[in-house]
């Protein structure tokens, strides 16, 4: 399930729903990314996330398909907020179920790296009196590059 929405989401409730759907899997890994309270500049941080309706969902589906080629996965949920977000709000959540734990862990890790660098989102950081579009950090590109070397 891929969901791109302006609606806030509750990671615990999403995990409950996921576990119900993923009944029978031995392993469930989840990851939630949230808006930090403070931007790099130190000011209070709100975010504005933009997407390309339709193509963004396709770009996420392509990332999920690549994960399913690499690992033996059962259920995969990917939730991504758009619009205006406040400090502490969950931005992104991935849930992955599999028979064995290495598959779930590695796939969740991979999905996050690729969501950071390949999915079609644009993120603006808004602080008191300033705003700036964010690009991936070098660390994000390095994280994503790990998967090209390893397999």
């Amino acid at each position: 399930m891929i969901r791109v929405s302006e609606e806030p989401f509750d990671p615990g409730a999403e995990l409950t729903a996921f576990e119900r759907a993923a009944d029978g899997a031995g392993a469930v890994a989840s990851f939630t990314g949230k808006v930090r309270a403070r931007a790099a500049s130190g000011a209070v941080n709100t975010l504005y996330l933009e997407h390309y309706p339709g193509l963004t969902e396709k770009s996420i589906a392509a990332i999920e398909a690549e994960a399913r080629e690499r690992w033996a996965l059962e259920h995969v949920n990917i939730i991504h907020r758009i619009g205006r977000l406040n400090p502490g709000d969950p931005i992104v959540m991935v849930c992955v179920s599999s028979a064995h734990r290495r598959d779930a862990f590695e796939a969740a890790d991979f999905l996050m790296d690729y969501l950071k660098t390949e999915a079609l989102f644009w993120k603006k950081e808004i602080t008191s009196g300033d705003e700036a579009w964010i690009e991936p950090r070098d660390q994000d590109y390095q994280d994503a590059a790990r998967w090209r070397k390893e397999k």
């Binding site: 996050m112 969501l115 644009w122 579009w133």
Partner: protein, 83 residues
């Protein structure tokens, strides 16, 4: 009218996310579209030509020489930052 979409910082530069535009006769590909935009907005055209900006035509990755018509949707994508 072609539909032009600008995402992220490009939308701020363009003064809007979306623009309807009748393509000039010589704007038959992505490079021609940028040239047409350049006539009224050099800063935006320079930004569209940055190496990190990808062009998409009708939701397919495009290049400078990808053909376009007045029925197409052309989008310009700066580097993404999800998650």
């Amino acid at each position: 009218m072609a539909r032009i979409l600008f995402f992220g910082k490009l939308g701020d530069l363009a003064g809007g996310r979306a623009r309807e535009m009748a393509l000039p006769a010589d704007a038959c590909n992505v490079a021609g579209l940028i040239a047409a935009i350049r006539e009224s907005d050099v800063v935006l055209a320079d930004a569209l030509e940055e190496i990190s900006v990808r062009a998409v035509v009708n939701e397919e990755m495009a290049r400078a020489d990808t053909a376009i018509t007045d029925q197409d949707e052309i989008a310009f994508l700066p580097p993404v930052s999800g998650g």
